[in-house]
């Protein structure tokens, strides 16, 4: 059993707790349990694009220093935005000794960052370290008959340098769900933006974006849209709620984290599921594969 050093991020401890709980269950079952960094800070939230703005990379680098202290060479995350920020900072600061020196000089009373930490998303771990075969073997409650739309959004697959899959036609999340018996649908809005933080100041912009994504998934026949990002999840849920009453095709579509479905497939107790997941399992999953 090999443990993974895990960075949760703030949302996973707050409104996305079920994302974390179900991921813990899944990785425990697959004998690669997530061990949370004892002390960690915000990843920095958004990767700063200003060329000389090293200050805004310090947050991520501090987490790398703390990862170093555990003896691990890798930091594993779940939140797509944390993954984006952490992996881009690692990509930049690991490759640039001069910038690393500057940041270390600023953190003058803390241990230096050595520039060796690699950042991976749990989906990469599932694909590259666990493998679809082993995942399929663990599925004691296969999700036969459940039609899923794997929604990636922006931050998991962009930019190319740190994206976990093809940025236009990603398959990793759909592959994971297919491995446990679900039936992925093809829909063209899988890597469109959900509207992100516009939900705060210009909610109609974010909702319009999210509505399009939901409609596209619903037209493709999906029972459920799965996400890997607390903000995408929030926006899609909001859109589903505001649309449910007046747009027929999306009336029944659900939005859940991909780990909620994987946990269900890997035998999670029904009592631990949200009502939404329980309903999907009881009303949509069939006994036999087919289709």
């Amino acid at each position: 059993m090999s443990e993974l050093t895990y960075f949760p991020g703030c949302s996973l401890k707050d409104n996305a707790k079920r994302f974390e709980d179900t991921a813990f269950f899944v990785m425990e079952r697959l004998e690669m349990p997530l061990r949370e960094l004892e002390t960690w800070n915000c990843c920095g939230t958004v990767y700063s694009l200003t060329a000389d703005d090293l200050m805004h990379h310090v947050a991520s680098v501090r987490n790398f220093v703390r990862t170093q202290e555990t003896g691990s060479e890798e930091l594993v995350t779940l939140c797509a935005m944390c993954y984006n920020t952490l992996s881009r900072v690692a990509g930049r600061i690991n490759a640039d000794e001069e910038e690393r020196t500057k940041i270390n000089a600023f953190m003058d009373r803390e241990p230096d960052y050595e520039g060796t930490i690699r950042v991976r998303h749990v989906l990469q771990v599932l694909r590259d370290s666990v493998g679809w075969e082993r995942l399929a073997e663990g599925a004691t409650r296969p999700l036969f008959g459940l039609k899923v739309a794997a929604y990636y959004g922006c931050t998991l697959v962009r930019p190319r340098e740190t994206g976990i899959d093809d940025m236009e036609r990603p398959t990793v999340m759909a592959d994971a769900l297919e491995a446990v018996g679900a039936e992925p649908v093809v829909f063209p809005f899988e890597a469109e933006c959900c509207g992100t933080y516009q939900i705060v100041d210009e909610p109609h912009l974010a909702l319009e974006q999210s509505e399009r994504i939901l409609q596209s998934a619903a037209l493709a026949g999906a029972d459920v849209v799965v996400t890997a990002c607390p903000l995408c999840q929030h926006n899609l849920e909001q859109a589903a709620e505001s649309l449910a009453a007046d747009v027929e095709e999306i009336r029944d579509i659900k939005v859940v984290y991909f780990t909620e479905l994987l946990a269900a497939a890997l035998g999670a107790d029904e009592g631990s599921m949200t009502p939404v997941v329980r309903e999907l399992i009881t009303s949509r999953v069939t006994a036999e594969g087919g289709a």
Binding site: C10, D14, N41, C42, M55, H56, V58
Partner: protein, 234 residues
């Protein structure tokens, strides 16, 4: 006095010869400063005497309590006895600690860039940034644990580039932790019942009606920590 060893320090830029081996606070008084504010318990607990200094030849500023730090040759110093930081108003029992109340009351904690300057400014050696990060994700138990030794000197807030009011956040976190995770202590419930039942009314009225001379006598003859002294002597 003639044999006393002296050392030179700079208080707000002006040079003074002060005795070796005394605290910054004693040195300032020796130099002629009289504290009206900026001094309290003189024992490192009240947080009133926050002080900034720089050693000769150093570029870095250090943050201490004037009553706890000894003077050193060539030290440049000034006091920062008060921090004009706003404090959020709230009625504790009306709050739901399960929600992220700290972020609602102190939204500026989301501006933290993890620079750790607050931690370096803390004379109590508290992991200040770590408890602000815990506050950001609503972990009041962690905030309470990490900020427990805070004496509210305010130096963290004075240094923060994001204008976070750390010590107020810590205090609110400890209060939320007490209502969220700690049972109501029995002795407090009993004492509240006694107060409300009027057990101490006569005693209180007698004090309120006493003459100034009576009060002075009572004060002079008061027993401090009776229970503890009895335990120690028996």
């Amino acid at each position: 006095m003639a044999d006393e060893k002296l050392t030179q320090i700079y208080i707000m830029g002006k040079a003074y010869d002060v005795p070796v081996g005394v605290t910054i606070m004693d040195a300032m008084e020796y130099a002629g400063y009289r504290f009206i504010r900026g001094a309290g318990c003189r024992s490192g607990f009240c947080g009133a005497c926050g002080t900034v200094y720089r050693k000769a030849g150093e570029y870095r500023l250090e943050f201490v309590l004037a009553c706890q730090e000894m003077v050193e040759e060539g030290m440049h110093l000034t006091q920062l006895p008060f921090t004009p930081a706003p404090r959020s108003d709230y009625v504790l029992n009306e709050l739901d600690p399960r929600e992220n109340v700290l972020l609602q009351h102190y939204p500026e904690i989301a501006r933290c860039v993890s620079c750790n300057t607050c931690t370096k400014a803390c004379p109590q050696e508290i992991e200040v940034m770590d408890y602000i990060q815990a506050a950001l994700r609503g972990d009041v138990a962690k905030v309470a644990e990490l900020s427990f030794d805070c004496i509210a000197c305010g130096l963290c807030a004075m240094r923060c580039p994001a204008d976070i009011k750390h010590y107020h956040v810590g205090q609110m976190g400890r209060r939320l932790h007490s209502i969220a995770n700690s049972p109501m202590p029995d002795h407090l419930t009993e004492r509240i019942a006694q107060l409300e039942g009027g057990t101490f009314d006569n005693e209180m009225n007698a004090l309120a009606g006493a003459s100034l001379d009576d009060l002075k006598t009572k004060y002079a003859e008061r027993v401090i920590e009776k229970a503890v002294t009895e335990e120690v002597t028996t």
